[in-house]
Point group: C2
């Protein structure tokens, strides 16, 4: 029985037989090695075309020690931020002939380490997106995951570049904007407690508070999706704040929807701000004031950093910091005369 039918798929051996040459020569031709007689090369190519031969990437990977694939680990594929990063990463990597393997940890931080390790072994490099694991754990496993690029997280481990968005500055810009409009009572609708980007926002707000002691800033528990915003209406109203900084655009949209149901006007009664500037933010009613994060570009840059690591190039920048840009739209307006806390 011929090898061919054994695997069911035609391999390099079949082409070699058909062209009357050795495996080695077929390999050389397929890889554009010019030390092959042009006539033989043509014969091999003809055989390959006729047999519709396509090299098996697994065999190739084993021989070359590389897979032309990179991995990305995200805490939640449903989150538009991670979707956008994935998109930018995938597009940029594709341009260099790399594919992307995805691993969704579903916010289970204990899974992250295992997922990351498994993904890394199948790939030539890894992007770890806002990992929820502890600093200690991250630092411990980082070396074994290299080449590794972090997004919205930093580590003390060496040779691991980080791409971080300056959420702290962004949230301060938003707060300043609200103060400029005359708001003196603000509220922050926080994100997931384990989220590093939420902590950065909190730090930014602390800085803001010391710079503006006259402004009252209420902290409210939250999350990262619509329901968080929608369910926070009562808490927001109770706080008596007239300017609300939502954790992100989704939360802001949920909140605006809830306020609308209560018959309140945005920004007439209350100003609402988001964060991220997802595409939807331009099309909400009213359009949403937010801080724009060039998130797709972040994914793209992640690939460039990772590529440099894989190629063992001098990483020109060992990481970067992105400044969000305030986008003033229609969901923020002048503060009404000071409101008093509303009950129920």
């Amino acid at each position: 029985m011929v090898r061919k039918s054994a695997s069911g798929r035609i391999g390099i051996a079949d082409v070699a037989v058909k062209a009357g040459v050795s495996h080695a020569t077929v390999s050389r031709v397929m890889n554009g090695n010019f030390t092959v007689d042009p006539e033989i090369a043509a014969r091999v190519r003809a055989a390959a075309v006729e047999l519709k031969y396509q090299p098996n990437p697994v065999g190739r990977s084993l021989a070359l020690g590389k897979t032309d694939t990179i991995g990305i680990v995200v805490p939640d594929l449903a989150n538009p931020t991670f979707q956008a990063i994935l998109r930018g990463l995938s597009r940029a990597a594709a341009q260099d002939g790399y594919r992307v393997l995805i691993a969704d940890s579903f916010e289970v931080s204990s899974e992250e380490t295992i997922l990351a390790g498994e993904a890394r072994r199948r790939c030539d490099g890894l992007v770890l997106c806002a990992p929820r694991m502890s600093d200690a754990e991250l630092e411990e496993i980082a070396p074994s995951l290299r080449p590794l690029v972090l997004i919205n997280r930093t580590t003390a481990a060496a040779g691991v570049p980080s791409l971080v968005v300056d959420y702290g500055q962004g949230v301060q810009d938003i707060a300043e904007h609200l103060v400029d409009l005359g708001h003196t009572r603000l509220a922050f609708l926080a994100g997931p407690p384990r989220s590093a980007s939420n902590n950065l926002r909190l730090q930014g707000l602390e800085a803001f508070k010391t710079a503006h002691p006259q402004v009252e800033v209420t902290m409210l528990e939250g999350g990262s999706d619509f329901d968080t915003g929608h369910g926070a209406v009562d808490a927001v109203l109770e706080s008596g704040a007239t300017g609300i900084l939502a954790f992100n655009d989704l939360v802001a949209m949920g909140l605006m929807s809830g306020l609308h149901e209560r018959g309140l006007d945005v920004p007439g009664d209350i100003s609402v701000t988001g964060f991220d500037d997802i595409p939807f933010a331009k099309y909400t009613t009213p359009t949403l004031t937010t801080a724009a994060v060039p998130i797709t570009e972040l994914g793209e840059q992640a690939w460039h950093q990772l590529r440099a690591l894989i190629r063992n190039e001098e990483s020109d920048a060992p990481g970067s910091r992105y400044q969000p840009k305030l986008e003033v739209r229609a969901s923020t307006g002048p503060a009404k005369a000071a409101r008093t806390a509303v009950h129920g």
Copy 2:
């Protein structure tokens, strides 16, 4: 020089040496083969742990002829529909220990064939999501891509299950809903011309028109994103229609935003409907009447079909048809007295 330092990574050979056994025995232990003396097994396991040995998946894949990975090809990763399918697929596959490799064709139909082939060779199976290629091409390459599952597309090729959403029925349900509210002049804001799901909608509308000859239905060119809807305001107003069926929720949101800017009231002046019921649809202002598609579930089912194919099981269902469910919300209301065409 020892093998160990040659590859930089520890392999099965290192464990074998450390435990004083052969490669074969290490492999047996790692794969839970019980024909190994418990004492030796323990020794091997201890060595593996001490060396932090993790089997190389590439070598494993080559030997086993499977990669425990599946591929998905989508026309546009930015599209929420495909994101949701990806999410459902990824989650379901992960539960069975499979990973997902993504390939984004960026709406370039000529790339699809190549991407699909490359992805397939790296994986154990493939999901082709609403491919834009021609029927002829699809039918030609389908056999070489098996195990293959199609989403929102069918083919005459054998052994290729399809999961399709009945967009035609969905669009009829929406149109009926608008007619029930008294609308007699409708307009359909179409999607991308090459999209199979758009064609299904058009067929549905033809069926609707023959059933309701008294209703006027205007066809408008379109696309699949916000800007399409936002930019279609003039055309919509010119049509004189009072009930607008947008291609999907994104287009509907863009349209509502544009109408709002023109000072028109939804649904007071014009009723607007979407399609898909993306999470945002519940939180627009007004909330969006749409046809809900269980899209994440679609991704999940795609995995189940693919799994059956991979395992060579009897595919219980050679494909399925999903019925969208009308979700009546606040963007549709009773028709005003017939409007006349508005210019400019």
